[in-house]
Point group: C2
Chain length 213, copies 2
């Protein structure tokens, strides 16, 4: 953990992976009407060490009560706030194939604070059309769309061989984060945020472990 100039806490990646697990679990408790949960309770359900959970949750400005634990609704709200899911973050989709379209249609992303304001493609047959009110523009018009909405996140769902070029174009235009869904390992400058969600790469893991059985 380190502090930046504006006192924002840079959390380690493992913590940022675990906090959404806690949130998803606490939200299921909330839906079931459970009122309180302890670190030990979360620990048992998720098989994460309870001292680790207590440490992770110490980043939140929230105190649990001895023996009762955390109020479930407060904990869900605090986690969601802390993770930035209650703020609006604007994004554009690059590549409107099946995955790009699915991400546009996915209400889940909006629930987690990601608002897709535009989409880009190179296929003249679909440029000018729209998916769920999100207009598909020619990538050549990227500056116009960027100036209008100032989106921060570029979601890359183009074919792998185009990933680097598209990421470079987005960064040059002003995008601050690249969310790469292709198997291609996109390189970005140090001041640009990069997250890789390489769906197919996970297949390699599954196949390798399956074969071992």
């Amino acid at each position: 953990m380190s502090l930046t100039n504006n006192n924002h806490i840079i959390l380690p990646e493992p913590t940022l992976r675990r906090l959404p697990w806690y949130l998803a679990y606490v939200e299921t408790l909330l839906a079931r009407g459970q009122e309180h949960i302890s670190s030990t309770g979360i620990s048992k359900a998720l098989n994460v060490d309870s001292s680790q959970i207590a440490k992770d949750l110490s980043f939140l400005n929230l105190k649990g009560k001895t023996r009762i634990g955390y109020n479930v609704a407060d904990l869900a709200g605090a986690l969601s706030d802390f993770l930035g899911f209650h703020q609006i973050h604007k994004a554009c989709i690059f590549g409107t194939g099946s995955l790009g379209k699915a991400l546009i249609r996915d209400n889940g992303l909006a629930n987690y604070g990601l608002h897709i304001v535009g989409a880009f493609d190179t296929n003249p047959d679909i440029i000018g059309s729209s998916v769920e009110d999100v207009p598909i523009s020619d990538i050549k018009d990227i500056s116009d769309i960027y100036d209008k909405f100032e989106p921060a996140v570029a979601i890359i769902t183009v074919p792998a061989e185009a990933a680097q070029t598209v990421a470079d174009t987005a960064i040059k235009t002003g995008f601050k984060a690249i969310w790469n869904f292709t198997p291609y390992r996109v390189r970005v400058p140090d001041d640009i945020v990069i997250a890789n969600t390489s769906i197919y790469a996970h297949l390699a893991l599954i196949y390798n472990r399956l074969k071992a059985d």
Copy 2:
């Protein structure tokens, strides 16, 4: 690395993450018509240490030539084979919301050896219909579908609160691997393969790093 009884190599997760990067890169070279590539060349393009690349590629039964490097087509084929992308692995989708449907429609998965043979949902309005020739069945009929195709991989794209129950049902039926796309941390027995592709969790990382700028 360890060997199982049938001499299958269990690769470490970081290696299994990097090998698909090399494949995606080598496939772009193949598309451009490049004939040879060295570890150093891959290293420069992907910013991975070249000795690490040489070590990772040593798992393949393929020799590069001094000064010339690897034949690009051979390397692409060997990587794809080694990662299991040329074999057929059968899977079912659990939950046919926008993400489940997108995965069914995604040709990419089939190109990487994953054949979706069935889908399940609880919504009576869509049970009996199909997406791209994949029939959507009632989850109550899971045993019939399983006996017919013997799929190994259960892809979980239901809402988070249903993830554990659906995974438990799939495992009880005979599925050997759970590919979890929900933010819920699904628990599985030791002999079941689990891969988590938690799309929304990556948003937490992006938001945290963006705020730090």
